[in-house]
Every structure is written in structure tokens, then in C-alpha cells.
């Protein structure tokens, strides 16, 4: 499904270069359930942004579903912005580490957005948005704006928004970081079910018990894969 070859991502701060990813290689098949772990600053969110077509590597090749998203070879067809936006909206659901909600919109409208972009009718949008917010336990918070929600409630709005369009690839960056154990367990049940339904789940987490829901754990260190092993599940 997705193939990352020799991926480099370098940022410049003034004259200093930060090597966020340094020659990363990974292949993830359709319907895999993968956790990504590693120290703070090791490149996990940078990797997720590249996988999710939100950012491009400085060097390296990224193939998604057979399409060349990015290539060192200018001859190979690279995807244009419209195509990338289409993939992001239809194939990928992204839960951001820092939520990235629209601050002046209600939880309802934040979750509704991907469906508006996908051209879904108002009636179908309302049904789907309501049911997804209920699934993450926020049925009684739909008209609250982000600053009228607790940290864990904002996180769940971000999760609902990522799932509302039934994406086949779910990228979740620390989805339970602000949740108590009971609510975390509810979210993991949701992700486990989506995996059983045939979707691909890639989740970044610092917590081992959350990572163990997946069938494989990829560990990053200094922008490279330092370990890649099965969890014994699946």
C-alpha cells in the first residue's frame, strides 16, 4: 500500500540544519495495524505528515497505492496539488497531535468539514456527523467550540473529524495523549473495529499498552527506523 524509500527531511533554522528524517525506509501493506514509537523529536510526526501527503520529503521516494507521491527522479510523475488534496480528503483520516481544530467553529462544524469537501448532501452530513460524535462520547457537546471543551474532548473532536469520511487509511498521532484510561479504551475499541473492517491503521503513541493493540511496532530513533517487529497480535 505505501512504500517509503530513503526518505530525508531537513529543516533550516537560520544557518542550522535540522535532520528530522535521515534515510528512513518502510513498507506498509493494506489493512496493516502499525504503531510508531520513539523518543520526543525522533521524527514521528514528520513521518506522519509525509505519509498523509501534508508535507513532502527533502529527498526520497514515496509511493501510495501505486501512485508516485514524491520522487527524486523528475521524470517520474509526481502528484499535483489537486490530486494530493483528493487523496487526503478521501483516502486518509488524520488525527493531529495538536488537534488543529477551527477555534471559532462548533464541534459539529469541525467534524462536518471533510464531508462538505467531499460533496456530501446536508441531510447525510448531519446524520454522519452526529453518529460519529456520539461514537466518541461527545453527543452532548456538539455545539461547544474548542475553547469550551476539555483537552480530552478536543482530542475526541479531532478523532471524530478524522473518521467521519470513512477513510481507508487512518493516521492517528498520539490519539489518547489527553484521555483517561476508560476513554482511551473506548477509542482503541473504535480503532480495533475499523481495522477488522479492512482499514489500515497507523498510530503514533508513547504508551506501550496502546501500541500493543497494533500487530507491528516501528520504532524511530534520530529520524531512522531503529526497530521493526511484530507484536504477536493478528
Amino acid at each position: 500500500l505505501l512504500e517509503l524509500n530513503n526518505i530525508y527531511k531537513t529543516y533550516k533554522i537560520g544557518t542550522v540544519e535540522v535532520h528530522a528524517l535521515q534515510g528512513l525506509n518502510a513498507v506498509i501493506e493494506k489493512n496493516e495495524y502499525v504503531s510508531i514509537m520513539g523518543p520526543s523529536g525522533s521524527g514521528k510526526s514528520t513521518l506522519m505528515n509525509i505519509i498523509g501527503c501534508l508535507d513532502t520529503p527533502t529527498e526520497g521516494n514515496y509511493l501510495l497505492d501505486g501512485l508516485t507521491v514524491h520522487s527524486n527522479d523528475p521524470e517520474k510523475g509526481k502528484l499535483d496539488d489537486n490530486k494530493l488534496a483528493e487523496i487526503r480528503n478521501q483516502k486518509i483520516g488524520f488525527v493531529f497531535q495538536t488537534f488543529n481544530l477551527l477555534p471559532r467553529a462548533t464541534a459539529l462544524h469541525n467534524v462536518e468539514l471533510p464531508l462538505i469537501y467531499a460533496g456530501i448532501s446536508k441531510k447525510a452530513r448531519m446524520e454522519k456527523t452526529h453518529s460519529t460524535l456520539i461514537k466518541v462520547g461527545l453527543g452532548d457537546r456538539i455545539y461547544h467550540r474548542p475553547n469550551e471543551l476539555s483537552g480530552g474532548q478536543r482530542q475526541r473532536v479531532a478523532i471524530a473529524r478524522a473518521l467521519v469520511n470513512n477513510p481507508s487509511i487512518i493516521l492517528a498521532d498520539e490519539p489518547t495523549g489527553n484521555l483517561d484510561s476508560k476513554t482511551s479504551a473506548e477509542i482503541m475499541v473504535l480503532l480495533d473495529k475499523l481495522h477488522s473492517a479492512g482499514n489500515t491503521i497507523i498510530l503514533v503513541t508513547h504508551e506501550h499498552n496502546i501500541a500493543e493493540h497494533a500487530h507491528r511496532i516501528i520504532t524511530l530513533l534520530d529520524g531512522k527506523v531503529s526497530k521493526d517487529s511484530k507484536t504477536g497480535k493478528g
Copy 2:
């Protein structure tokens, strides 16, 4: 040190009332080490904002160091905004659940701010800011802005900012939510040391192993204290 009596906090969303705190009582002595736990939405951050003089209760009395911060009785001296700002700047260090960093300022300037408000000289500010950023492992990230930092690095800038003015009361709302186990352990060593040095630590966390660093755990449920017990430490 701080005394909360029958604290209520009610929000209004349209016609709906949200009872974030419903008759909460707590007394915390000087140099205590307290963890606050409870489900998502149970009122922990709301409680922290009231303790930290960032928000006022709808009803109830709050005494801090003998001063009446808020009282139902209009006869009792309530603190004015200048006095509250002074307490916040000098006595209290607050690590916010969602960091609340200035997005266009560097890590250095974000951490420097409380010292500027306290009227500290430039030379002393630079020394203190640098050493605090080094303590949280960000010595090589001081010129990065928040969007040029990883989630865990932003969290550590928020921690550094809370500690830079040597406050005697440290309020930390989920300080390790975005940190891997090694970095979490480093931050907890820092907090444990600050406690041994005589300061008062109140930390909200969802993780039991982090909560167990404290000597007492207060558990909230639906805006009230549901449990209040010693951890066996200290």
C-alpha cells in the same frame, strides 16, 4: 496554603448550563505533592484554572496564603486584578494542558516572558532562560518557534516557562501527555526535586505511574471530589 470551599463553576452554552464543578471542597497545605486524576471532562483543568487565579468560581470561597481570592460574601475583601496578576506571576507556575505558547516567538522568548514581567535584568534573564531550557533538554532548540518543534518539545517549552521564575506553587496540567517514557522520567525528576526544595506541586495526570510520584491523589468525578487518599510516599 490553599482552601477551596463549596466551589461551583457553571458555563452557559446557549440555554444549556454545564456544571463543570459542583460543590468541590479541598485543602492543600504548603509543600504538599498532590496529583489530580479523573475522567475526561470531570473538571480537572477548570479546577486548576481557579487555583491558578486564571478564572473565578461561579460560587464558593477560595483562600490562597490567607488571602481571599474569591468569596460569596461581598463584604470579604476580594483580590483585584493587579493583585491577582502579581500572584500569578510570582507565586504560581502554570503548565497548560494545551501549552498556550506565543506562536510567533522563539522557545527562548516564550520562556523569558515571566522574567520580563517580573522586572528581571536582561543578563539575569538570559542566564535563567538558557539554564531552564537546558534542564528540560531543549538547549539545541532555543531559537525554534512552536511550529518548528515537536509536540513533546512544545510541552517542554511550556514546562520551562512555568518554572523559570522559581514559583513556590507549581500547577502542571498533563505535563507528560506528549512525552516518551525517558523524557517523562526526566521531567518527573525535575518536579520531585522542586518538591524536595520546599515547593508545592499540584499535577493533573491520566497516568497512574506519574500520579504515584505525589504523596496524595485527589480524584474528581462530575465536578466533585470522589476520592482523596495518600499514595504512601513522603
